[in-house]
Every structure is written in structure tokens, then in C-alpha cells.
């Protein structure tokens, strides 16, 4: 607490690190520098924070901050400091050169979901308007592609169906492939709150995590066998008459097909495939099926598999079959991992989407976006390729130049040697970062950009709630915002008139216009409304609309027929099965103190020896 006379101010903002987006205050001294954190009683977290949020402020005035652009002609040379003029001129020149010689698609842009939504929007617009390339994607597609696909198939919309607060109203919580205690510690309070009211907790996870340790049922199944498990649970739910026939008849399609498929998944099959006792299948089916209100939440544990979308669909099938959608305490969600994992994939930073969650392949959507951006529909590029495929294209020379911002791809991409080879093959690589990350250290040009506390903007948390981050201090001299960098590059590429943004507010206003009437509608959200309310869930089509915390309350999805599309899914053997040479499965875990690749600066977050 601030002693009187110390001259400090508290700036309300949110943590940058995960999809919960806890509210917090940054403490700013009388010289305008951030020096500490103070808990904040925000709706989402009510003063609570995890270790990352508490330590986050230490990144801001860290001694290793980059303070000037760095450049070199070849990777054999060391970096030399340069002026912004020189660095930006060189970058724009290289962009032109590569595109003139090898086509527009030879230059790619790779963004990130740690960027605010304004910047994510600009990334997409820059790639498609200023560069005219189809290759734009972000690190979020590495994580959320499976769930996004499943959500689109089932509901026609990609977001969590319920707010976190619904957890407190639920009677049975099914947490699958999610290590809540280590990845979203603050959400644990919601789980405990539900349990205090008598709710049952079922955790599906090969490992006994901290939350799994005290769960009512911990299904410690073999990695990669979740589809078989959920099919088996649905089998028992159907067998015991625990399905919600009224809901199935009124709001879903494909139940008969699904039923036939899960008939082949009796509990014995789950025993054989998943390695769990049959009575666990029975118990979970009884708890979930008989609960008045049940919810299922999952994260990457069940999604990041070769058929991850199928697994998500098997969970959705279970929720729909038991009528658990669109009611307080009853529903479904995937929890977005990154701070702006939800917002970062909504507005065109992804290879197949346009602002407002529109599709780049849909002609009507394309026309609308082109009109908004003041270009011909024909000028709008086609769909690109996901980030994981782009590395292959870089290796093969189809992509020769890259602008990276908001990511540290050389660390977070799987198959490091391939990623390294891909980046090595690039003719020109420019990376924006606050620190000399591994990826930036590999580039030709490094541009120092502001941290999350040095610019205002919005992020969307895993509940699809848009929250406002406020600027707590000015960036150090020589450091600029990503927004400014993109606008300056666009200027040099001849598109300055479409990128005349003074700051985040102007970008957000354009974003609001861009999303009006689209599936992901931000048009009713303003900075002022966010400050008043503490966050608004989209869609929010007008400024007097309160937002939409819970989806499907009217029983209608975003499909033209308004129904939940049930997709029968089969469990398939993994692509690389066990054999004598490879008898073990390694599954990645999480540490509560670290996230992605960027938490190595705060000195007090624990680290193992040698890391």
C-alpha cells in the first residue's frame, strides 16, 4: 500500500500473460516509471493474481531492454545500432525488392497473440493492403487451431460459450487437458467456489496436477486417447437415458449418426484404449449426465494432437447431448492460453480470417472488407497458410522475407531444427521485440518496440470479454510502438493514407467500424465503456448493448439453420504408435511461474539449474 507522501499513482490495467486477463494496478513513481504492482478488485479476479502477474512489471524497466534499432546485412556480421530512418528505409526497400523479384507472396508477416487487438488488426491489414501478400499468420494458430475448427464446425462461431462466472453456478465441472492450477491459477478460485456449493469436479489429465489431486474423479488416461474416453462417456449417457431429448430434437442435427458411432464405444473399449477402469467411465457419465447444470472446459492438452479437432468435437457432443449449453452454469468453453489468444485470432491476423471473424474465402466477407479498406476485392489476397506450414515454405524458398512481431517463433515453434533451417533460409528477416529474443537475435533488422505497459489497447480474454489495458509509462527514448512501426513501413510502401493512425484509439475506432455487422462485432465497444464496466463481451452491436457474456441463450448457433451440428468422431491410433524402439510417451507439462518464452526476465521467477 502506498505510504502517504510517496507521490505514486496507480494505473489500472490488466496482466499481459494469460487468457484470464486479471485486473491489476501498476504502481508508477513520481518520475513516471513503473516500479511495482498492487492488486485490483476487478470483476474477473477480485484482487487475485498469480506469480506471473505479480512479477510482470519487472520486465518493463529491465536493463536488457533494446533502445535502438539494430541491423546487419548478413548474419555473419554483428549487429550495429542504427537510426529508425535507416532501419525502416532498409526494411521497406527489402520488402519491395523481394516482392518485385519473387512475387507478392514471397514476403510474409508473422504476428502474435500477445499483441493487443488493435495491433493484431493492423498486422492483418498491413499484410493484405500494404504488402498485398497472402502469407500472414500468428503464433496463436499453433495452439488454438484445433478448438477453433471444432467450434466453427459445431457452432459456427469460435469463442467460449459461457463466462467464467458460470463455473460458480455449475453442479458438475469437467476439466479436460487443462492444468488449471499451473496455467490459469486464478481460475482455481472459481472451481473451488463451485465445489464449496457442492459441485463435483472431474479432471481428465494423464498427470496428477495440483487440481487433479483433490478432484472427485481424476481420469488419468493415456495421452491422445481422449476421443475414445468421451465417446465412451456419451455411450453410457445414452445407454442410461441421461440425454436431453428435448434439446437434441430442438437444437441439434446429426444425433442419430452420432449415436450409431458411440454405440461402438462401450466402457470396455475405453478400458482397452485409455487404460482406465471402467467404473470411471460410468461415474463420469453419471455425474455429468445427471447434473442439473454441467460444464466442460478444455485447453491444449486434448487439442494439440493430430486429430485434436475431433477430440474437441467429442466434448461438444457430450455437452449438447446432455442439453448443457446456453444456460447459467451449463455450457462449454475452450480456454484461450495467451493474453490475447482470443482477440488475436479474431480480426485478420490469421491466414484465413478477416476482421470481425469474417472468412477470407467468403465472397461477401471479402467484398465488405475490401470496401472498408478502400481497395478492390480482387486486390485482397487469398487465404494463406498456417504458421507451421509457413516454415516449410520458407525452407523451400517460396517465402523469402519475413516481418515478425509479437512472437518468439524460434523458441515456440515445434521441431526446432526445421524452424531454424527455415529462418536461416530467409533472404531478409526483420523482427520487432522489446528484448533481443532468440528470434530477434537471428534477424537482419531488429526494431525495439514498447512493452504492454507502455501503450494502451484492448485484449480479449478467454470469455470473449474485451478489457482495456492502460498506458502506465512512456517507452524509453528510442523505442516505438508496433503501431507506429507498421504505419511507417506502410508509408514507405506507398500506403500511408490507409495507415494514418496517431495511436491505438484511432486504430480501435477503425476496428469498430470494420466489425460492425460481422460475426465478431465490436462496434458497440468504446474505451470509455470499457473503463466504466471493466470489460464487455462481444458481440456488442451498439453502444447501449450490454455485450454477450453467454452464447446460445436463445438456443440458436451461428449456423444458418441455427442448430448445433453434431459430428460423429472416431478415435484413431496415433500416427506414431508405441513399438520396441519408442515405448514411451512424453507429454509436456507447465510451470506456474513461466509462460511462453518471455518470462525469463523477472529475476524472481523460479528456474531450474542450467536454464
Amino acid at each position: 500500500m502506498s505510504p502517504p507522501g510517496s507521490g505514486e499513482t496507480l494505473v489500472p490495467t490488466h496482466c499481459c500473460f494469460c487468457g484470464v486477463q486479471c485486473g491489476m494496478y501498476l504502481r508508477v513513481d513520481r518520475r513516471g516509471k513503473v516500479f511495482g504492482v498492487e492488486p485490483r478488485d476487478h470483476d474477473i479476479n477480485r484482487m487475485r493474481l498469480c506469480a506471473k502477474g505479480i512479477e510482470a512489471y519487472q520486465q518493463i524497466n529491465h536493463p536488457d531492454r533494446l533502445t535502438s534499432p539494430l541491423l546487419r546485412r548478413t548474419r555473419d556480421e554483428p549487429f550495429r545500432p542504427a537510426s529508425w530512418e535507416e532501419a525502416l528505409d532498409l526494411t521497406a526497400a527489402e520488402m519491395r525488392r523481394i516482392q518485385d523479384a519473387h512475387g507478392r507472396d514471397a514476403f510474409a508477416v508473422l504476428g502474435g497473440s500477445g499483441l493487443t487487438t488493435e495491433k493484431a488488426y493492423l498486422v492483418g491489414k498491413f499484410a493484405r493492403v500494404a504488402l498485398g501478400t497472402r502469407h500472414v499468420d500468428h503464433n496463436g494458430s499453433l495452439c488454438t487451431a484445433a478448438a477453433a475448427t471444432a467450434n466453427h464446425l459445431a457452432f459456427g462461431i469460435d469463442r467460449a460459450a459461457n463466462p467464467f462466472s458460470d463455473i460458480l453456478l455449475s453442479d458438475c465441472l469437467l476439466i479436460a487437458g487443462a492444468n488449471i492450477g499451473d496455467t490459469f491459477p486464478v481460475l482455481t478460485r472459481y472451481l473451488w467456489g463451485a465445489r464449496d456449493r457442492g459441485a463435483h469436479l472431474v479432471v481428465v489429465d494423464p498427470r496428477e496436477t495440483a487440481v487433479a489431486r483433490t478432484a472427485d474423479v481424476h481420469v488419468a488416461l493415456r495421452p491422445g486417447t481422449d476421443t475414445a474416453f468421451f465417446n465412451a462417456v456419451l455411450h453410457v449417457v445414452d445407454r442410461d437415458g441421461l440425454t436431453d431429448r428435448a434439446f437434441l430434437d430442438a437444437h441439434t442435427t446429426g444425433w442419430e449418426e452420432l449415436r450409431k458411432t458411440v454405440a461402438a464405444y462401450p466402457p470396455e473399449r475405453a478400458v482397452a484404449v485409455c487404460g482406465i477402469p471402467a467404473e470411471q467411465v460410468e461415474r463420469v457419465a453419471a455425474l455429468f449426465g445427471a447434473a442439473r447444470n454441467a460444464m466442460a472446459w478444455h485447453t491444449r492438452g486434448i487439442e494439440q494432437h493430430p486429430r485434436g479437432a475431433d477430440t474437441c468435437l467429442s466434448v461438444i457432443n457430450l455437452c449438447a447431448a446432455t442439453g448443457n449449453l446456453g444456460r447459467p452454469g451449463a455450457g462449454y468453453g475452450t480456454i484461450a492460453g495467451q493474453g490475447n489468444g482470443q482477440g488475436g485470432r479474431e480480426h485478420g491476423q490469421q491466414y484465413d480470417t478477416l476482421p470481425g471473424g469474417r472468412s477470407i474465402t467468403d465472397p461477401a466477407h471479402r467484398r465488405a472488407t475490401a470496401a472498408l479498406w478502400g481497395i478492390e476485392e480482387a486486390e485482397l489476397p487469398e487465404a494463406g497458410t498456417p504458421m507451421a506450414e509457413m516454415t516449410g515454405q520458407m525452407r523451400r524458398g517460396e517465402i523469402r522475407g519475413l516481418l515478425g512481431l509479437g512472437n518468439n517463433a524460434l523458441v515456440t515453434l515445434p521441431d526446432h531444427s526445421s524452424a531454424q533451417a527455415a529462418y536461416d533460409a530467409l533472404d531478409f528477416h526483420v523482427q520487432c521485440d522489446s528484448f533481443l529474443s532468440e528470434t530477434a537475435a537471428h534477424a537482419h533488422v531488429v526494431l525495439p518496440v514498447a512493452t504492454w505497459a507502455e501503450d494502451e489497447g484492448v485484449m480479449t480474454n478467454a470469455e470473449a470479454r474485451v478489457v482495456k489495458h492502460n498506458k502506465a509509462q512512456d517507452p524509453p527514448p528510442g523505442v516505438r510502438t508496433d503501431t507506429w512501426v507498421l504505419c511507417q513501413l506502410a508509408l514507405r510502401l506507398g500506403h500511408g493514407d490507409r495507415f494514418a493512425f496517431a495511436g491505438s484509439r484511432e486504430v480501435f475506432d477503425e476496428l469498430r467500424t470494420a466489425t460492425a455487422g460481422a460475426p465478431v462485432d465490436y462496434s458497440g465497444i468504446t474505451y470509455e465503456r470499457l473503463a466504466e464496466t471493466g470489460g464487455i463481451a462481444w458481440p456488442c452491436p451498439s453502444t447501449d448493448h450490454p455485450g454477450t457474456p453467454r452464447l446460445f441463450e436463445d438456443g440458436r448457433t451461428r449456423h444458418p439453420d441455427g442448430a448445433v451440428h453434431l459430428h460423429p468422431v472416431e478415435w484413431r491410433e496415433p500416427a506414431d504408435p508405441y513399438d520396441d524402439a519408442y515405448p514411451m510417451t512424453f507429454t509436456t507439462g507447465r510451470a506456474a511461474a513461466h509462460y511462453l518464452s518471455d518470462t525469463h526476465q523477472p529475476p524472481n521467477l523460479p528456474r531450474t539449474k542450467g536454464s
Partner: protein
């Protein structure tokens, strides 16, 4: 930044004269009425308190005698300085009283016992270089020795041991793949990181910071300024030091101690000037030191949060007032030709008397207590235990981490039993094991899971 609770806390520490100073056992209200470990509740003064009073009285009387004798039966005693002399007698009483009371508590009494043992049998060690230098905590020495031994052992073994081949075990792993194997490595992989992070009394990581240099320098200024002032003023007010002129008119002066001529000097020379104005130098040092601390207490966030007016700020203010009024006296005599001298003299006297009477009961008691405590500790447990003497450092019964000098732990257990703290066996476990054992006991005997 004071509040009623903080003020009361100052009482507990014995901040107001006339209240009983405390040895921390402040269980029962009202504040200030805090009996020490050996004192029974009730109205009658305790044995310890009586003993302390009698010793203090004796000390005061001795001082009076010393003053009388040292001033040649008051011949060299300056009557104008009488209030100062009386204040010093009160000071002597207060210091002796608090000192005795402090020593009567079981913990300090124990340390004194150990120290006496130490002095008699380790006189040489007491004055050895290791003992006089900034003695390292025995645990840091133990940790160093262990690290050296480990490095030697590894070098001898020729690097890390080979990992045992595990392919032969593979089939067992596949069968067990769920909960167990994936779980244990994750936990043990995490554990080393966490233990390395724990604030270590074995000093694995230099997590803490010492007092910054500015504070140390300021403290030295304050210390030497005050010491100089005391060295000059106390003997002066007692009449032990006097100045006589060698001739009626000349600049020559004689410095006399207990009436005996110690040195002669020329009042107009530089040494002479320095001697006469030594108190002004002391005042400057004190103002510099105390002024820094006062400034720090208005700005520094760490200080602002916990400070108490009576305990932290009053002593500093008192010293500054004493120093400033003293300088004003010099200013008056040098510049104002003695204008306002009487008033200033009265002011100075009042501030000095207040400071001297206040000293034993506030923060500045550490001037007396801390050297005594540190000295006792050093005499009882001299610096580095012998390198090969494993018995000198006790290791935790469970995890074998060093926890302290064996003699210190033994004496602590004795003290604990004297104080009726029956869990002294616990002292032979390191804090981490205590916590882990308690956690394990909770898991097995109270509540394993959520409810």
C-alpha cells in the same frame, strides 16, 4: 506515520521512562505492562526488577562518588553544568537498570553464561584475527566448506556418473504410462528450482541485500559525532577535565584531567582552536548523520511503511536539536558577540537533559545493548568452526543440512527448557524439514484432499 497501535508498540519496547521495559512477552493488555519471562503477574515488584534497581542505584552512587573525587572534591566542578551532571547520573541509572533487566531474561542470561565460558577458555580465540574481523556466520563457512569438498569429490570421480541404461525397463513403463511416471519427474524437476528459491539460511543464494552504503556512512557519522561529543562533554560536566590559564593574560592554556596537567597548548594555535571547537565538529557530524536518516525516513518507502514516531523519529530529532542548539551557542559567541546566549544555553541544556534521560528507553539503547550482545555472541561462538571438526556444526536430523553451531543449539535447547518451551527437540531440524514434516502430518492425519 503513527497510529495508536504503533504508539503502543513503542511502549512495549519500554519507550517511556517509568514504564517497565519489556522482554517481548506482551500477551496481556494494557500496553507497557509487559513482564519479562521471569516475572510473575501481580503488583509486587519482581526479583529481577529489584535486583536491577539495586544495581542501578549502586551504579549511580558510584558515579556520584567518581564525580566528587575526580573533580578534586568538587573543586574543579563547574556549578553551571550541574543540570548536565545530574542528567548523566539519571542516564547511568536508566542504562544500568535496563541493562540488568535485559540480562536477567533466560535467553540473554544463557548467552552471557556461554560468553563467560568463552572468555575464560578461548581468550586467544577472542582476540584472534578471525574473531575480530567481520566474523562470518558459521553456516556460511559450513556451506563453503561443503561446496569445496563437493568440487574435490567430483574432480576425483572424473565427472558425473553415467545414467543407468533404461531401455531394459521400457515395457514396465508402457504398462504404467498413466498417472505415475509422467507425474514424478515433473514434480522432482520442479523441486530443485523451488528449494533454490527458498530464502536460505545455508546461504545458497545471495538473495538478501545488506544495508546500502549510504546508510552505513551516515551511521558512522552519527556514531563518531556522538562519541566525540560524549567524550568531551561528560568529563567536562563531571569536572574531570578542566582548563587553566598558564598566565593571566597569555594565550597559553593547560588541559587538566582530574587536576593533573595533561598538556599545554596555545589557545590561538590550530590545535588549540580545534580543541575548543571539537564539540562543533561533533555537532556537524551528528547533524550530517541524523539529518540523512531523517530525510530517509521521509522518502524511503521501506522506512515509511513501518516507522513509529516515538521510537524512530524522536531520537533523531532530539539529537539534531542538541547539535543545532550547540552550534547556535558557538554562533552566538563568535558572531553575535554573546547575544541571546543565556536563552540558547537554557535551550541546549533542556534538549540535552531530555536526550540523556530518554536514551535508555528508546531506540538509542542499542548503543549499549548491541555491542554487549554482539560481544557476548562472539565470545560464546567464535567465528569459523574448525574446518575438519564436523561436530562443531550441527546438521538437520532429517536432511543433513547444516543448521548452526552445535554448542549454540545445545544452549538454545537449555534456554527453551528453562522457559518451559517443551518442543526443544524440534530445534535439531532445519526449518524446511519442520515445515515439510508438519505438512506431511496434516496430509496423513488431518486432511488429504479438498474437504
Amino acid at each position: 506515520m503513527s497510529d495508536p497501535q504503533a504508539e503502543a508498540r513503542a511502549d512495549v519496547s519500554g519507550g517511556i521512562p517509568g514504564e517497565q521495559p519489556a522482554q517481548a512477552r506482551a500477551g496481556a493488555p494494557p500496553a507497557g505492562d509487559a513482564p519479562a519471562g521471569a516475572l510473575p503477574a501481580g503488583d509486587a515488584p519482581s526479583p529481577a526488577s529489584l535486583r536491577a534497581s539495586s544495581v542501578a542505584t549502586a551504579v549511580s552512587l558510584l558515579l556520584v562518588l567518581a564525580i566528587v573525587l575526580g573533580s578534586r572534591v568538587l573543586r574543579n566542578f563547574d556549578a553551571a553544568l550541574l543540570p548536565y551532571a545530574v542528567a548523566t547520573v539519571f542516564l547511568a541509572f536508566g542504562v544500568a537498570y535496563r541493562y540488568m533487566l535485559w540480562l536477567s531474561a533466560p535467553a540473554s542470561r544463557c548467552l552471557l553464561r556461554q560468553a563467560r565460558r568463552g572468555v575464560f577458555f578461548r581468550v586467544r580465540a577472542l582476540f584472534s584475527r578471525a574473531s575480530l574481523s567481520r566474523a562470518r556466520h558459521p553456516l556460511r563457512t559450513a556451506a563453503r566448506q561443503r561446496a569445496r569438498a563437493e568440487t574435490r569429490a567430483t574432480a576425483r570421480a572424473g565427472g558425473t556418473a553415467q545414467a543407468p541404461a533404461f531401455t531394459a525397463q521400457a515395457p514396465a513403463f508402457t504398462a504404467q504410462a498413466p498417472a505415475f511416471t509422467a507425474q514424478a519427474p515433473a514434480i522432482t524437476a520442479q523441486a530443485p528450482a523451488f528449494t533454490a528459491q527458498a530464502p536460505a539460511i545455508t546461504a545458497q543464494e545471495p538473495v538478501f541485500r545488506e544495508r546500502p552504503r549510504a546508510r552505513r556512512i551516515a551511521h558512522q557519522l552519527l556514531l563518531w559525532g556522538s562519541a566525540l561529543a560524549v567524550l568531551i562533554t561528560f568529563p567536562l560536566t563531571w569536572g574531570w577535565i578542566s582548563f587553566t590559564a598558564t598566565s593571566a593574560a597569555g594565550p597559553g592554556y593547560e588541559l587538566r584531567v582530574w587536576g593533573y596537567r595533561l598538556a599545554g597548548f596555545d589557545a590561538l594555535s590550530i590545535p588549540g582552536w580545534a580543541l575548543f571547537h571539537a564539540l562543533d565538529l561533533a555537532a556537524v557530524l551528528v547533524i550530517a548523520g541524523a539529518g540523512y536518516f531523517l530525510w530517509r525516513r521521509m522518502r524511503d518507502r521501506g522506512a515509511l511503511t513501518g516507522q513509529r514516531f516515538a521510537y524512530d523519529l524522536v531520537p533523531l530529532l532530539a539529537l539534531i536539536v542538541v547539535a543545532v542548539t550547540g552550534l547556535l551557542l558557538t554562533f552566538s559567541s563568535l558572531v553575535l558577540r554573546g547575544g541571546g546566549y543565556e536563552f540558547l544555553a537554557l535551550l541546549h541544556m533542556a534538549s540535552v537533559v531530555f536526550a540523556l534521560i530518554y536514551l535508555p528507553f528508546g531506540k538509542f539503547f542499542h548503543v549499549v545493548q548491541r555491542p554487549a550482545a554482539t560481544g557476548m555472541r562472539r565470545a560464546a561462538h567464535p567465528a569459523a568452526p574448525a574446518a575438519q571438526d564436523g561436530a562443531a556444526v550441527l546438521v538437520c536430523r532429517r536432511c543433513e543440512e547444516p543448521i548452526g553451531a552445535a554448542s549454540a543449539i545445545e544452549d538454545l535447547r537449555t534456554t527453551m527448557r528453562e522457559l518451559d518451551l517443551g518442543f526443544d527437540e524440534w530445534a535439531e531440524y532445519c526449518p524446511r524439514c519442520k515445515r515439510q514434516l508438519r505438512g506431511a502430518a496434516y496430509l496423513t492425519q488431518v486432511k488429504k484432499g479438498y474437504v
